[in-house]
Assembly symmetry: D2
Homo-oligomer: 409 residues x 4
């Protein structure tokens, strides 16, 4: 069970880290500040300049599409990718600069695995080139999407087309003017078990009948121009071949799609926890109260130690989940993914909260990245399944070891 930094990873990791520290992170603040200038839902000239400039540099340095690499290239595995994701978590722009951002990586994986040749040509290729962006439409306002069998958007066949009706919200990235295609989870008119009644369908963003109701806000922020969109679909028609794999196979795809994405999310969260602890320690040593550095007051030593212990444990758990994924048995890996999905955001939130407290009022303000980081991490406890659902999966896996004819409802 090799969980360390391998020889082949070492130079890549070093290059990624270096580029983030010296070229990407220093531009984060400027990029974000641009959002308030002009139309929030278009990129400003300067934003395009920053982002595309960095992407060119990344491509030139062959620091691009690590996702693709581990499928077809010199073969970074998920454990190795995880170390890169951790670094990308430390900067707002980094993941996209390396074309490794959610939800595009997950969507690319879906196209690569389940897409037709046409889809690969039309969507996968420009996604991998960083020319377009995509969104993933799953959650709905009317049902508890934590139980995904509740997903209700109707998808009814009408000749050579499917007709979609319903609402989707929290379509992350769908505000982006470059966002050209959606992968949409729908209810197909299938017989069978409750995990055989859904489908996954590809919908071009410019299809008629799609209405952007509003951007959803996260603690008051719309995260423009990326955004989290609330859509209404009214008689949206797409060709039947846009349904991936076939009716009733949506959960099959969802499962394959979400595993690696969750690992990336979690490792980025670890990266953010590291950043928060670094800020916390620096503040604790540079600020005095009651005659000594904050570090030496009250429980601050204990907070620092507990944070370090939480981060190390969470990182190791993520790496183990990545390793499980690399063994090729998605079903066996699933409870491990659920474990990290609970653990990583939670500890990253805790460490960030401690850092906020150490900074005093500055911690909640615009003067540190901590407040923004906290609200982002807080949504991770809900996105891709709330904690409770993942704990439920872990518990069921555990109890199944001891079951003797008893049903686990």
């Amino acid at each position: 069970m090799e969980l360390g930094i391998t020889e082949r990873l070492r130079p890549i990791l070093s290059a990624v880290k270096g580029m983030i520290e010296t070229e990407i992170a220093p531009l984060d603040a400027e990029f974000l500040a641009e959002v308030d200038r002009g139309d929030r839902w278009q990129f400003t000239k300067r934003q395009t300049e920053i982002l595309e400039g960095l992407k060119l540099k990344a491509k030139a340095a062959e620091l691009w599409n690590f996702w693709d690499t581990f499928r077809d290239g010199p073969q970074l595995n998920t454990v190795e990718y995880a170390y890169l994701a951790e670094e990308m978590g430390k900067s707002h722009l980094a993941a996209e600069v390396f074309n490794c951002n959610a939800p595009d990586t997950g969507n690319m994986e879906v196209f690569a695995r389940y897409g037709t040749e046409l889809m690969k040509e039309r969507w996968l290729k420009p996604l991998m080139a960083g020319e377009i962006r995509s969104a993933y439409l799953m959650t709905e306002p009317q049902v508890a999407s934590s139980d995904a069998t509740n997903i209700a958007m109707s998808c009814v066949r009408d000749g050579d087309h499917y007709v979609l009706n319903g609402e989707k919200w929290w379509a992350t990235g769908a505000g982006d003017p470059r966002c050209a295609v959606y992968i949409v989870m729908v209810r197909t008119p299938t017989e069978g078990g409750k995990h055989q009644q859904h489908g996954m369908i590809v919908v071009p963003a410019d299809t008629a009948g799609i209405e952007k109701l509003r951007p959803m806000e996260v603690f008051g922020h719309d995260d423009a121009p990326h955004g989290h969109m609330h859509f209404r679909f009214t008689d949206v028609r797409v060709p039947v071949e846009n349904l991936l794999l076939g009716e009733g196979r949506g959960f099959e795809i969802a499962q394959g799609r979400l595993g690696p994405g969750r690992i990336h999310h979690c490792m980025r969260a670890i990266g953010q926890a590291e950043k928060a602890l670094e800020l916390l320690c620096q503040r604790a040593q540079s600020r005095d109260a009651f005659g000594k550095p904050l570090a030496h007051l009250g429980e601050n030593f204990d907070i620092i130690a507990k944070s370090r212990m939480q981060i190390e444990q969470a990182r190791l758990l993520c790496l183990k989940a990545a390793w499980m994924m690399d063994q090729g048995d998605a079903k066996a890996a699933a409870p491990w993914i659920s474990q990290i999905k609970v653990v990583a955001p939670q500890i990253a939130l805790e460490v960030t909260d401690h850092a906020i407290q150490m900074f005093g009022a500055a911690g909640v303000s615009q003067d540190t990245p901590l407040a923004r980081q906290w609200t982002h991490l807080r949504t991770l406890r809900l996105a891709d399944g709330p904690d409770a659902v993942h704990r439920r999966q872990v518990a069921r896996a555990e109890l199944s070891k001891y079951q003797t004819g008893q049903k686990s409802s």
Copy 2:
């Protein structure tokens, strides 16, 4: 130790509660939405209409200045006032509608106790009439203000004036165009112990040399038009008689000022916790997953029970702290105030966080008041002293019971 709702309080409480539920809370959302129309730092016509209209109604119903009431009127005590504060916590506008909002109540108390007749005429009277607003300038960006002896704004005598130089931030309410006066903590050139080197001085908002550098943001929100201002003072001159009590007596005033204010803050936090629990329970019963209401899934019963137990305990502790305050010995009451200052925001945050999680993605969005409530409550763990400082006070009080000649540094 009467901690219940007294006979004389009952009708007042009922009227306050009724007015909040039927008249004030229903206007909160509209009032807040107005902020984004036009100049954020001016009241819109509609905002003025809403706020002044409600204030007139409150005055007409003699639901006004409960603070004053318990000093000179039919004598509500702090315990009774606390029950009212809890209700006011449930609506954005309520506290100001009844002229019971921070920091004005605290400032009014300072003017009433320590002000000259002139100050009472010029500032206290219009404050009590709700005609002007005030701010309290204490925290500074360059020092850890958690240890208030660090406060550094210089205040040097020059003939009949004091001249102030330095920076202050987090001046809550100072963005309000009606804000006419500041009470400012400064370092006076005093000999003596570290708690005898500061003063509290009254500075009209329009004094020359005061520069508004920027509004501070709380998790990205400027809370306009109220605001939390960052100021630079350059050679700000005020008459010597503006210094309250005299040089070196700032801490004396701060202590008296902050006690009741903290109780109000904490009881409003309790009100918010109650509101969050109510929303949580309603959601838990009206939303289904895995074939049953959320309430019946996983640890949700336990979350509800724990929240109820935390709220009851925190409320009783606040009431006891209020009762201690009513006994007239501020020094004896101090560790009790510190206790609630730690406990109330913390449990209100926890309950609110549970409610957010129960709502799923809606919980972090603009569709519930929970996200806004959370960020407000989070700052309470820093405002008026961070948790660590209050725990320190409680521990020192505890250890002093057993001390035998040992010094507690």
Copy 3:
């Protein structure tokens, strides 16, 4: 809602406290050490001397049967009694010295409320005189007694007698040679809802067919000579009039019996928490490491502060529950009793655990009362209903506020 120490209570509390500190607590260790001399299940001569001597003193000082007092005497209410229980919690022997120990107070209450005149003469009178002891047999090894409707001991009528068969364990106090009578929860052959199928029956300890299988151990301790007995009942016959109130009314009695008893347990737990915090603070100030008193190292200030805040909150909650009980509506008081039953043992355990840690290895040893106190408190999280059952009650009470036709299973 008067939760303070009343005028009439003050002298009684002071006398109780004084007698515990100067006369009872100093004999605790000697009494306990006697257990290892000779037959564990008989009182040694010295044990009798100590206990009966103290009881005589208590009677002489009219510090006796506070339970009775509040029913018929000068009328201490439950809130007042609670303050006395807190003090009794600080000494091993105190509760029995004042004839206020579990399970006798609860059993006396049952006889007083539901007993026949004969029972009052035969059992209540000597119990109130401290001449005999009693036990309460509820829990059974074969079923989850947390759900008391599982209680299965059969009770079948045969002419003028009931015949009992089954096992009971954790019959606290039944090892005591003075224990003369048991109140036993049994399943009666009743039609009706699941709370109408049990009865409460009085069984003299010397009835034929009762077999003491073994003493149960608590973390390896048998708590002799008091003990927690495991019984087998084989065709145990008692006259029909021994069934209290009648068939199917067992839950009715259980509910009335357990409320005050739980308050006493909880307030004694608070007393133990106070004692632990006192020991903790003394140790923290008298022991040095790394060049300073332990109190000034790491998070110790925070531990002390948090302990103080937990204790204050838990005490206030117990007092409020007692006050609810005093209002005479047992159903309304029930969720409050459940709240304290969860909170008080939990915080007392936490504070005791912190004290153990502060003492280092001495904390787990025979050199402090902390280890014994911890194991005793740990059982309180199970006795009279495990935490989970009480949280369940609190949650159901909470949710019922918002229910609109929904069933809470």
Copy 4:
């Protein structure tokens, strides 16, 4: 960073696990019960039969001295050894059966690394053969041994001897009649820094002047015949060559000695946590309340999931600490050892406590191994340094990454 079960380990692990499950664990209860028959501080005939019989089997199967193996044999490393230690944690007798028990492994390591040839012949050889036992005397009653620089037992040279005076307690294993030798930490009359004033000296158990004052009790248990002894040394004379390495070098030896021992302790704790979770899950599925298995009530799913997540994280952290140790840089490994020393006992205690609660009253009784396991684990939070001291080490290591000329006091 290979943290998995290697090929060479697999058959050994399998054999160890098999022997524990089928031959050792089934005899635990009988062995323990024997303690109460006859002299607690001598082995009964049956105890000797059980223990020596198992040791013979283990030797015959070449499952013996894994400690030695990894030094000189086919080279199991610390990571591999850790997996074996986890299994041994699941049975009371297992560690000694394989000659891998504390404190003997640690003492053997000291003799092997720092002992003279004479010591190796006289003590190491019979220890490795399992013929004698040893103890490690460090902690003292009069000083806070958490700061080991406080250790005060005097060791003064007198000609060819050192003369020792003082008290030691918690000498684990020193009650064992087979315990023949002590390694003792003493204060040597050295000049220099506070970590250069102590020595480590070898004292035969039968040296004149050693008085066994009493066995220390752990939550009321003396753990006979092993025991935790309290000694008084009065003019105890040993030859000068018994001082290991030389005066002032005690900390050097202590550091080397405690690292691997802590990893073993922690991995055994992980084994106990696994056992507790197994018992918990079995109980949760086999016992019903309120109409369903306990597993499906309240937060039990969440408890199971959290326990699984805690165990996985703690195990990975232990394995990483073991891996650090295997890299050969003890100083770099030290903060990792401190991390696991805090984490492993804490989570094992939590899981065990949850299991106790799931079992109800049976959980604290003699009917499950949980209560005994809990008290043992509780002492681990104190033994080899209390949590606070290890957190302090972790915090100092963390802060040192950012230090720029500041001192960390």
